[in-house]
């Protein structure tokens, strides 16, 4: 066993090499203090701890011997000995940085202090800097990662405390899983039961921690060594980023984070190489067949769900639609197609689908509902006319799982099911379509495109008139809410990071948007509590591009985790929250009315359990108490524009703001 002085000397050398010169002074000073404490036997030092517990002290820098270990050679409990020359946590930080991870979101937890300390004292002080994002709930950490990925196209890291922390994060993980979004997650793990210090550590230990969320993660692992950690981290990243995207999870041994790298920094395992990922594209013969069907169709229709994973996907979809002069029905789960493009027929999807003779569905989340109708008695019929051909391109079907039913109902209506990533398949499909388009039908295609352009223009005019309904009402109409905001942001580089379906999708109806980051869809699994944290994660990603992020958050959603407002203020993430304050869980109150009426009991009491009033919550005051600029509650529609203007001025200065708007239900 090395003497403390020898170890400390070696520590300085190794650490200097490890940190590559950056931030050395502070760390070395800390190490010196720790060393002095040890030598003097001060409280908090390893020697005093060992003396007080009577436990035998071991050299944690040495590899643990294989096989049975005599009790005298075991670390008594969690090793609090002198600062190491290197530690597992620092190595893990280097692995994260090698993956291009820039942010690390966490609510602190006892099982990942080894990484936490490494992030703040090593990762944040050396290049390339990691940024620690402090959250107040594990669900917020995961949801922030969810929103971040949809803007940035790559994961940030989030880490959770073992068991209870992961339990907190579970719903947000399911949202990300169902939304096909890459999340890179880690959770602490007390693997060595002989070193769990106390009762709480036992309560917070699991033999197989990731099992709890395995049904809705793409892959997980529990590394047994640092080499195993780096290999599994790269594998987790690769799997998360291979379509279909999804969350991955590493359960990281608490002591492996905290202990010294076995053999010291110089014996640290190499960091693996990350390959360029090539997503699964459609088989060439099938692509040619699809192109033939589309090119020769009278009324081809493109349905896009989570199809445009990247800005390139949006561009490709426009190319395909324009080549065919085919309408596109966008589900709204991604920014698949420009909102004011003449071929965007999303608001008329039912009609254009019923007229179609060939439907190409790209990454459809619910193909049954797309191709079939079901009446109140459960009888089903085709949503398409007889003889229409149905094609699906779906990467999700490459990764079926059995428990959660996010795959939706099976449909027997599909003629050709291409198990492939839609975006990766589009270039080949576009090329084939162009090659196979009959030259003699160019005028027919142009006429088709003109008819859809006319219909789109008519829809737009109708939407304007519909928006005028109740324009001066209080509670404020959702149409006015969206239009007052648009007036303030239309000349900015804006990004609407929240879903719009709860407010009538007025943005898609009336705004102009043609960039991928301008809309990112919603929850995934409709798990409430997504919007407030996920949109902050999206705003975090937008921050470095100088975009103006705006988020409509329901009052019910916000109150699932209002602590996220503090995170927004603390981390100085510019985001405009607009609270769609209808003072109830609105979807639920509508459904409860239906149930009560079906039982002929009337709706007099359905507010119980659904209304969020008595007292009304003052969200502006709440926001102010958490460090945000707050406006409202706004009840007079004439006050809305000026309030938004003031809030946006704050956001443009780099701070978050919140405007509380007492609004119509939808």
């Amino acid at each position: 066993m090395a003497a403390p002085g020898d170890r400390e000397k070696a520590a300085h050398v190794g650490r200097r090499h490890f940190l590559k010169g950056a931030a050395l002074g502070g760390v070395a000073a800390a190490a010196s203090v720790a060393s002095a404490q040890t030598e003097q036997g001060l409280p908090g030092s390893a020697s005093s701890a060992a003396a007080s517990t009577g436990g035998a002290k071991v050299d944690a820098s040495l590899p643990r011997p294989a096989g049975a270990t005599p009790r005298s050679e075991e670390s008594s409990v969690r090793d609090r000995s002198v600062t190491y020359s290197s530690c597992g946590g620092d190595y893990m930080v280097d692995v994260l940085r090698s993956l291009g991870i820039e942010y690390f979101a966490a609510t602190p937890g006892n099982t990942f202090m080894g990484i936490h300390e490494a992030v703040i004292n090593y990762g944040m002080l050396t290049q390339p800097n990691l940024r620690f994002i402090t959250t107040m709930h594990e669900e917020a950490s995961v949801a922030m990662s969810h929103g971040y990925s949809k803007i940035e196209g790559k994961p940030m890291a989030c880490m959770m405390h073992t068991t209870v922390g992961l339990q907190h994060g579970a719903m947000a993980i399911y949202n990300a899983y169902a939304d096909r979004v890459p999340i890179f997650m880690m959770v602490g793990a007390w693997i060595d039961a002989a070193r769990r210090p106390n009762a709480v550590d036992w309560m917070h230990a699991a033999s197989d921690g990731p099992a709890m969320v395995r049904d809705f993660t793409k892959w997980d692992d529990t590394p047994g060594s640092l080499r195993h950690f780096s290999e599994s981290a790269f594998r987790a990243w690769k799997f998360a980023m291979t379509p279909p995207y999804g969350p991955t999870l590493l359960a990281v041994d608490t002591l492996m984070q905290e202990d010294e790298i076995p053999g010291g920094k110089d014996r640290a395992p190499p960091i693996p190489k990350l390959p360029r990922i090539s997503p699964p594209a459609g088989e060439q013969g099938a692509v040619k067949e699809v192109a033939r069907l589309l090119a020769n169709a009278e009324n081809p229709v493109i349905y896009a769900d989570r199809a445009a994973r990247t800005p390139e996907g949006l561009k490709l979809l426009v190319e395909l639609a324009e080549a065919l002069q085919a309408p596109v029905c966008d589900s709204g789960n991604r920014m698949n197609f420009p909102w004011r493009h003449p071929l965007n027929q999303s608001r008329r999807s039912r009609q254009v689908m019923s007229d179609a003779d060939v439907v190409l569905a790209l990454e459809p989340g619910d193909p049954f509902t797309l191709f079939a109708r079901m009446d109140a008695r459960g009888n089903t019929s085709s949503a398409l006319k007889p003889g229409a051909r149905r094609i699906t391109v779906s990467s999700v079907e490459l990764m079926p799982k059995g428990n959660y039913q996010d795959l939706q109902r099976y449909t027997s209506e599909v003629d050709l099911a291409m198990e492939a990533d839609a975006e990766a398949t589009l270039p080949m499909l576009i090329e084939e379509v162009r090659r196979q388009l009959p030259s003699g039908r160019k005028s027919a295609r142009e006429a088709r495109g003109k008819a859809f352009a006319d219909a789109h223009r008519e829809e737009f005019a109708m939407a304007k008139e519909a928006a005028a309904n109740g324009w001066d009402d209080s509670p404020i109409s959702t149409a006015r809410l969206y239009m007052e905001l648009y007036e303030q942001i239309k000349n900015e580089d804006w990004s609407l990071v929240s879903p719009s379906g709860m407010q009538g999708s007025w943005s898609q109806q009336l705004w102009t948007a043609d960039r991928h980051y301008q809309y990112i869809g919603g929850w995934g699994a409709a798990g409430i509590g997504y919007i407030a944290p996920a949109t902050l994660g999206a705003a975090l990603a937008n921050q470095k591009y100088g975009r103006l992020s705006v988020s409509f958050v329901g009052d019910g959603d916000l109150m699932f985790g209002p602590g996220i407002l503090w995170t927004a203020a603390h981390e100085r993430i510019p985001l405009l929250y607009i609270v769609h304050n209808n003072r109830c869980y609105h979807t639920e109150i509508m459904q409860l009315q239906a149930i009560a009426n079906r039982r002929q009991r009337g709706i007099d009491r359905v507010h119980i359990g659904c209304a969020i009033d008595n007292p009304n919550i003052n969200y502006a005051m709440m926001a102010k108490s958490l460090g945000l600029h707050g406006e409202g509650p706004i009840e007079n529609p004439r006050d809305l524009g000026p309030a938004l203007k003031r809030a946006i001025a704050t956001v443009k200065r780099g701070e978050p703001a919140l405007v509380d708007v007492v609004s119509q239900g939808r």
């Binding site: 009538g504 109150i589 009315q593 119509q664």
Partner: protein, 116 residues
Amino acid sequence: MQFAFVPMILVCAIATGAFAADKPNDVARGKQLYTATGCDQCHGTHGQGGAGPRLAPGPIPYEGVIMQLRKPRVRMPLYSAVVMPDSDVAAIFAYLQSVPKGKAASEIPLLKALSY
């Protein structure tokens, strides 16, 4: 203002033989019932639409309203005569007919300025 529309509308409706509301206070009662029976949750506080379609101004014929309440299509909740007697439906219908026509998009600067 709302009441000024009612007599003429009611005359038209009664003339069709489909709508039997004939009490001047039906509009006021209908307005109260519209909220009390939860119509506003889906259709907006003045029938302007929301999760459900727009009901006012210019509601669909009374027969269509009563049919949708008694045998709803799509996701509309059932309103039987037990929870909403015909007299209440008539009052609500009178209220919906009384809702004045709002501004057109061309009269609202934010909407008028929207270009395609």
